[in-house]
């Protein structure tokens, strides 16, 4: 008798045109945290979807506690005490926390002895008890639409626990969380393990694995590469196994002095639609060949800075100068023409038209100009494709067989981001604003994008980088601006700051200007 909770034996899954899993065998022990690591598209999610009954494997078998089982639907998985927190939460927004948790297995009481009725009072009590037991702080009667992302995730976890899940699968659980929330989630996961649950966590973030996982399976292109003992391996080892070659996150920057000032922001103030001040007298400047990174806890005004410069947000006072010219009253398109490139945080909603082709997306900034558009207002799609094919080659955008005609939605996140960057860099602006450029991307893609940003800097562009990842800021920035509560806490040379020091500024502990 071994103590394996799950054994996947020789699992293969073939989709039309693609082999998602190729003869993968893993064993997960009772009571351990087992990480599955791989790049986007390596087959991690598919493998777990098979275990959760969302897909049926093309071949191979699943054993739970030594017994061979067939899992054809999430219902089967529930019966075997397997639960999963999906990357995209499956919650009903306009129902309460408790209602979401009991959905499908609602407790019933009979009204007047005949009419069955959902026993919501009891459900509220049960959920409150459960949330106390596992230290997952939720209020059972809150509506989902009113609670934060991290609370929603706790609801998803409680959903599994309410169904007495013994094996908990987390699909990229930290992708949507802020650094603090990530810390507390990792603690939750650890305490779940300590209370006897078995946990599988899908991720591509190495430091998280290092922090909590006991063992780690590495998938690459659908194949199982290796299973490592986390305590005995380094993140570097894991990274190179995952990507298939050595990764260097060292950034090469030359020591040229900065050039003339490109962007000069002076005492800008902004308010949100509720009238709350989001930026207070923010001033800074970015010079040619300089990467100015804005650090801060999410929601402290970083996005407002970028939006104010790009023209998405009106400033109530203050001035923004680009190459000495006041752009305060210019429209968004006029600002872009003046020489701003903007890589937005939300690439799906702001950066791309997902259901349009790659070439249309790549030409979004120039389509209205000749030669893309004739004098008489007719678009020239041949030109679109011509320039797109050049960009696809230059920036190594991996798209489908249709090349420039690929629908962007079907591309991986990393390649979507490469497409945006290609488009924005191609317009040859002096100022490039990156907001969270590597959010949700895997190590391989991050490496490429970081190199690209450094190249741009060395080529003399002024770069404003806004990121929630401190590591990213520390490795890229020449100068670091820390913002807290809409106010600049400090602007310093990156060499004079440590990660810990920046963290303190981010919490608003010091203020020095």
């Amino acid at each position: 008798m071994n103590n394996n909770f799950v054994e996947l034996k020789n699992i293969s899954k073939v989709f039309p045109n693609i082999v998602a899993n190729d003869d993968v065998s893993i064993e997960v022990k009772q009571g351990e945290i087992y990480a599955i690591l791989g790049e986007n598209g390596a087959g991690k999610s598919t493998l777990m979807s098979i275990l959760f009954g969302l897909y049926e494997p093309t071949s191979g078998s699943i054993y739970i506690k030594g017994e061979k089982v067939k899992i054809t639907s999430p219902l089967d998985a529930n019966k075997l005490h397997i639960g999963m927190v999906h990357q995209h939460f499956k919650l009903v927004d306009n129902q309460s926390v408790a209602e979401n948790i009991i959905l499908g297995i609602e407790p019933i009481k009979k009204k007047f002895g005949i009419f069955p009725k959902v026993d919501i009072e009891n459900a509220n009590k049960d959920v409150a008890l459960l949330s106390k037991k596992y230290h997952l702080d939720v209020n059972p009667t809150d509506l989902i639409q009113d609670v934060a992302v991290s609370t929603r995730q706790r609801v998803e976890i409680l959903k599994m626990l309410y169904r007495n899940a013994e094996l908990l699968i987390f699909d990229e659980p930290t992708a949507v969380l802020t650094p603090q929330e990530i810390e507390s989630l990792l603690d939750i996961i650890k305490s779940l393990r300590d209370s006897g649950k078995t946990i599988i966590i899908i991720t591509h973030k190495l430091d998280e694995i290092k922090k909590i996982a006991d063992r780690c399976a590495i998938l690459r292109k659908g194949k199982l590469i290796d299973v490592l003992d986390v305590a005995k391996s380094t993140t570097k080892e894991m990274a190179s196994l995952m990507v298939g070659h050595d990764i260097s996150l060292q950034i090469k920057k030359d020591d040229k002095p900065f050039g003339e000032t490109v962007l000069d922001v002076e005492k800008i103030n902004t308010f949100n639609k509720d009238g709350v001040q989001t930026l207070k007298d923010v001033s800074f400047s970015v010079k040619k060949g300089q990467i100015l990174a804005v650090a801060g806890v999410s929601g402290n005004g970083q996005v407002e800075i970028a939006d104010a410069i790009a023209g998405l947000l009106k400033t109530s006072s203050g001035s923004i100068l680009l190459n000495g010219k006041n752009i305060n009253n210019l429209s968004i398109r006029e600002r872009l023409e003046e020489g701003i490139s903007y890589i937005p945080e939300d690439r799906h909603n702001v950066g791309l038209l997902l259901d349009f082709t790659l070439s249309e997306n790549l030409c979004l900034k120039q389509y209205y100009k000749e030669p893309y558009c004739s004098k008489h207002g007719v678009l020239n799609f041949k030109k679109f494709d011509e320039i797109s094919n050049i960009l696809i080659d230059n920036y190594d955008i991996r798209c489908g067989e249709e090349k420039a005609k690929t629908i962007v939605r079907s591309m991986s996140g990393g390649n979507q981001q490469k497409a945006i960057i290609a488009r924005e860099i191609h317009s040859n602006s002096d100022l490039i604003i990156f907001v969270q450029p590597t959010r949700g991307l895997d190590v391989g893609a991050i490496e490429i994008i970081h190199k690209r940003i450094a190249e741009l800097r060395n080529a003399g562009k002024a770069i404003l980088l806004i990121s929630l990842e401190l590591d990213e800021i520390m490795s890229l920035a020449d100068t670091i601006l820390v913002i807290y509560g809409g106010e600049v806490q400090t602007i310093k040379d990156a060499k004079d700051l440590t990660k810990e020091r920046v963290g303190e500024y981010m919490m608003g502990v010091h203020k020095s200007c």
Binding site: D93, L103, I105, K117
Partner: protein, 319 residues
């Protein structure tokens, strides 16, 4: 005044039950523009049963009217199955399918009424005659000033509708089925993840909307014209849609909306009589409820929130 109340309730309640059908359907995430066609088809079935039974074995009128209500619900539900087939099985566009169902219903019932009248009953007519629906006056309560009018000369079907409507509200808000149905309208993937069949829930929701529309339709046929004829298609199905949108997809608010429409209509009629307007003006006054609809929607549409997954075709693979 009493007459206005009596008239408006006879209009409000059938409209309300049709709107409830719409709330079930849209609450589960399926757009339902087919209410108009469903109510007509339901009324057609009810009328057909009355016509067939009276000419074959003459039953007592009073049982026959109740049989006709039931058969109208069955007829509406059967026709709704066609809609369900189109939008759930073949995943067609729900807006266009709904409109097509409406047009199909108008021409199909006209054709069938004519043909059945000729072949079965040997008469050339485009209607099925119905009986006068029994009315009751509740003793004592009806004597209360103003409020008593709500209990005076009430069609029996109004009581039936109140009972059915209460049951539907209980079903939607108190039972597990209702909770899952509403969950389907917001995020069907949550229901699928809980191991329930989204398509089956939506199928039942569409059937319910058909049955409720059929019930409302036959009641209109009784109260407005005491016969079934193509004149049943005057847009009450669309008015029911306006009512539940205005009611923010909630049953209680929708009742309020239906009451407003019902009273607006009765007051319109009342004004025609009082002012003894020429008939050309009476048409203008009858636009009253619709103009009111437009104005109300202008004001309330902003704050109203449709079910989040409304009209989204459910696709298991999409995440």
């Amino acid at each position: 005044m009493n007459n206005i109340i009596i008239e408006s309730m006879a209009f409000t309640l059938p409209l309300f039950i049709i709107a409830i059908g719409g709330i079930f359907c849209e609450g589960s995430g399926v757009i339902n523009l087919a209410l108009e066609g469903l109510l007509g088809m339901g009324a057609f079935f009810g009328g057909l049963i009355v016509a067939a039974f009276t000419s074959t074995f003459i039953d007592s009128q009073s049982t026959l009217v109740y049989i006709s209500l039931f058969s109208a619900m069955v007829g509406g539900a059967l026709f709704a199955m066609l809609y369900a087939l189109i939008v759930l099985k073949f995943q067609a566009n729900q807006v266009i399918s709904g409109v097509v169902i409406n047009m199909l219903s108008v021409s199909l019932t006209a054709f069938l009424t004519n043909q059945l009248n000729i072949s079965l009953f040997n008469q050339s007519s485009n209607k099925f005659m119905l009986f006068v629906f029994p009315r009751v006056t509740v003793p004592f309560i009806s004597k209360i000033p103003v409020l008593g009018a709500f209990f005076t000369d009430v069609y029996v079907f109004e009581f039936i509708i109140v009972v059915v409507a209460s049951f539907m509200a209980y079903l939607l808000y108190k039972t597990p089925f209702g909770m899952r149905l509403r969950a389907c309208g917001d995020n069907p993937h949550s229901v699928a993840a809980a191991g329930k069949n989204v398509t089956r829930i939506r199928f039942i929701a569409i059937l319910i909307s058909g049955a409720m529309s059929g019930l409302g339709g036959i009641c209109f046929a009784y109260s407005i014209s005491t016969n079934f004829s193509p004149s049943i298609y005057v847009g009450y199905g669309y008015l029911a849609i306006a009512a539940y949108i205005f009611g923010n997809w909630k049953i209680s608010n929708t009742l309020l909306a239906c009451l407003i429409f019902g009273f607006a209509r009765s007051i319109g009629y009342f004004m025609i009589q009082k002012l003894s307007l020429p008939s050309s003006y009476s048409d203008l006054v009858l636009t009253f409820p619709y103009v009111l609809t437009l104005i109300l929607l202008l004001f309330f549409s902003k704050s109203n929130r449709a079910p989040r997954a409304l009209g989204e075709i459910y696709d298991k693979g999409k995440r």
